[in-house]
Structure formats: C-alpha cells, structure tokens
C-alpha cells in the first residue's frame, strides 16, 4: 500500500485532495502545518507528499530536504498552489519539487498523475 501525505493549512483543500484520491489503495495522511509534516515524515517514509501552497518554500525552509532522507529519491513532492508566476514555479522545480499544479486544479488529472507516478515507483 502506498503512503501519501497532504500538507495544508486549509482543512478544506486538504479534504478535497484527500477525497479525490479515495479508492487508490493508499494510506493518505494529512498534516496541518510544517511541524506536523516534520513529525510524520520522521515517523514513516512516504511515497508522495502533496504540499498545498508555496509559503512553506518561500519562508526559506528546505522542505524537500526535510522530507527526503539523504540518498533517496522518495518521496515525490507535488505542490498545488495558486501561483502562476513562471519565476516562482521554476524556483520550486529547482528546489526539488517533482510536479507543480495550479489552482483551479482538475481532480481527475491530479488523481491520474498520482496513480501513474506511484505505479512507476513500484
């Protein structure tokens, strides 16, 4: 079973993404902030982390390094946010983010991307 972590300060957005991944044979956990994200990622190795919003990255935290143990390419990191600016998106990808999706997001597309990437990991 895959392990997915959703990091979002907005409970509604976290619920929307979690429910869109329903029926995927995955253990989906939610973290309301960076402290919970750090705690959960220390306890278990996730296959995929979906971060809602870019403020965690902009504040200067090395989110990808917090999430990925040294030497591993897991977990995949997705960011879903409202940002459109090309510069910010490129910087996110440079930081090690694997996928960037903007709101409004297609839930089917998100689900397909997640399924494909997780299957590729197997």
């Amino acid at each position: 079973m895959h392990r997915i972590l959703i990091v979002s300060e907005e409970e509604f957005l976290c619920d929307v993404i979690r429910l869109s991944l329903a029926g995927m044979r995955a253990d989906v956990r939610c973290a309301p902030g960076v402290a919970a994200m750090e705690r959960l990622s220390r306890r278990m190795l996730f296959d995929l982390v979906i971060v809602v919003g870019t403020s965690l990255f902009f504040s200067g935290r090395d989110v990808v390094r917090i999430l990925r143990p040294p030497g591993l390419r897991k977990p995949l990191v997705y960011v879903v946010a409202w940002q459109q600016a090309e510069q910010s998106v490129l910087s996110l990808l440079e930081c090690g983010v694997d996928q960037y999706l903007t709101f409004p997001v297609s839930l089917q597309r998100l689900r397909m991307k997640v399924a494909n990437d997780l299957n590729r990991q197997l």
Binding site: G53, T54, S55, L56, F57, F58, S59, G60, R61, A81, W82, Q83, Q84, A85, Q87, S88, L90, S91, E94, C95, T102, F103
Partner: protein, 306 residues
C-alpha cells in the same frame, strides 16, 4: 460642567460605535477579498510590494515576512553586520545570499551602506540584505527603499508579524483602484501598518521627512483591519479576570442609578459601551472577544509615523 461632561460622554460613545461600524464593514470586505482570491494567482496590474525591515533580527519574524504567497513581493532587511555579526552570518548562510554591487541610485540620500546581498534564485530571490552602519530606523528604511524593486513599500520593525493574507489584502485594495491613484494605505489596528508608494516617499525625501503628511487625503486609504500583529497576539486574557471589572461596572451603574447620580451613571454606562464595542470589534477582527481591551489599539504606537 454637567453639560460638558455629557457632551464628552456622547462623543466617546459615538466614536466607539462609529469605529465598530467601520471595523464590521472592513471585516466583510476582508472576507470578500479572501473568497475572491483575485490576488492569489497572479499580480493584478503588476502591483508589487517591498517590505522594508529595520531591527528585524529574529529568524522566525523574517520567515513570517517571507512566507507570503504573493508573487511580486520581496523583503529588504537592513542589518549592521558589525553590531549583529552572528545574526547576519546566520541569515546570509541560510538564504544563500550572493553579494552584489551596491551603487546609490540618487533618489534618496543613503549613507553607511557597506554591502548588498540578494538571495539565490533557488531561494526565490525574495530576500535582499543590506549591510549598513545603524544610525536610526529612518536611515535604515531609506537604504532599504533605495534598493527595493517594487512600487509600494511597507516598513516593518522588530516584533511586527504579517497577519495571514495581509499582503493579498493590501494588493486587493490597491488593485481595486485605477493604477497609481493611491499613495498610502494604512491600518491602525494590531500593530499600525503604513504602505507607502515609492513616489510619495521620494517626493518627500525619505522616511526622516515625515512622508505621510505630504500625501493628499484623496490618495489615502485606511483599512480598519489588522495587517501586522505582535507575536503574542494569540494569547488571551483569562475570562475570569474580565469578570471582576465587568461586575464592578454593573454594581457602580446600579448604585449610581439608585442614588440618582446621573453623571456618574452616564460615565459608567459610557465606559461599558466603549468596552463592549471594543470586545465586538476584537471579535470581528480576530474571532475572539476575550482580549478586546488589551489588544484593540496599542495607542503608544499609533502615532509613531506622524
């Protein structure tokens, strides 16, 4: 004498009620702007905000200032590397600052700048670090304004944290008017905040020249909602501590009415009205009524910029 007192009480009551109405209206606007999310995805009309920091050495505060999701946004922090050596080095290492050339643009009189650094692209190019010999906050703000990229400047001091969504709210206010029509957006609630247009600042000659006085009324806007807040804003006064003054007011009112001392009764009831209005305003602003009096308006800071 009694008439003068009555007029004073009435004026206090009217002011409290007017302020409450303004805050309630601002709350509705804030909720509407947050739901619309127009400023979240792209910078409307290319509006950009540069936050200017003087005396901000706490990494948590800098993190808070940098965390805004708005795209055309930067934080310009002014440090004195000789006085705050450890903090300066830690910051430069954490944000992987690259030292760039400093050349005065000539718009503002700036002295004492030793070096200028920009955070790397990897760190979203959002932080600009100015190393300058400290000679006062106004000089620091001028130095920060001289290297700021964007057209609107928000000076921030130590202990002033951005309220979630504050930058987007400011952008929504600027973006709801034709470009260039607003020179000043300010808020007196929480920690007083002043967003100034760069042109108004340059016309005045810098922060030391009291730039707000020169701005015509038509180009000002006041937001009756907090934009900056102190870090302890989450703490509340326990409810039982408020019970005693409330009971005292009720007893004083009852006694003065029973004794027929109408001036005293009017004074007590005015105090009660102002307190209740402050509690309602606090509820509207932050969602909690308990600490209404304590955090309503830090008066000592309101007049800092005037």
């Amino acid at each position: 004498m009694k008439l003068a007192l009555l007029l004073f009480f009435a004026a206090a009551a009217v002011c409290a009620c007017t302020l409450l109405l303004l805050i309630l209206r601002a709350r509705e606007r804030r909720l509407l702007a947050a739901a619309a999310r127009a400023a979240y995805s792209d910078a409307p009309d290319g509006i950009g905000i540069s936050v200017l920091c003087s005396g901000v050495t706490d990494p948590a505060q800098l993190e808070n200032l940098l965390s805004s999701e708005y795209s055309r946004y930067e934080v310009v922090a002014v440090f004195d590397s000789r006085r705050q050596t450890a903090e300066f080095r830690a910051l430069a290492a954490r944000y992987r600052m690259i030292r760039v050339e400093w050349a005065p643009t000539g718009e503002l009189e700036v002295a004492g700048v030793r070096a200028l650094g920009r955070s790397r692209k990897r760190c979203f190019r959002r932080l600009v670090l100015v190393d300058r010999a400290f000679d006062g906050a106004a000089g620091d703000f001028d130095a920060a304004a001289a290297v700021a990229t964007y057209d609107y400047l928000l000076p921030v001091g130590a202990g002033q944290y951005l309220v979630p969504g504050a930058v987007e709210r400011l952008v929504a206010e600027l973006g709801s008017e034709p470009p260039g029509t607003l020179d000043l957006v300010r808020s007196h609630l929480g920690e007083p905040a002043v967003l100034l247009s760069r042109e108004a600042l340059i016309a005045a000659g810098g922060f030391g020249m009291r730039p707000l006085r020169e701005i015509p009324r038509g180009r000002r806007r006041t937001l009756w909602e907090p934009l900056l807040a102190p870090p302890e804003a989450g703490r509340h006064v326990p409810r039982r501590w408020l019970l005693l003054p409330a009971l005292s007011l009720a007893v004083a009112f009852g006694l003065s009415v029973a004794a027929g001392w109408w001036t005293a009764a009017a004074a007590v009831v005015t105090a009660a009205l102002v307190w209740t209005a402050a509690a309602c305003a606090s509820r509207a602003v932050s969602g909690t009524a308990r600490s209404g009096l304590r955090r309503f308006i830090p008066i000592r800071r309101v007049f800092r910029y005037y």
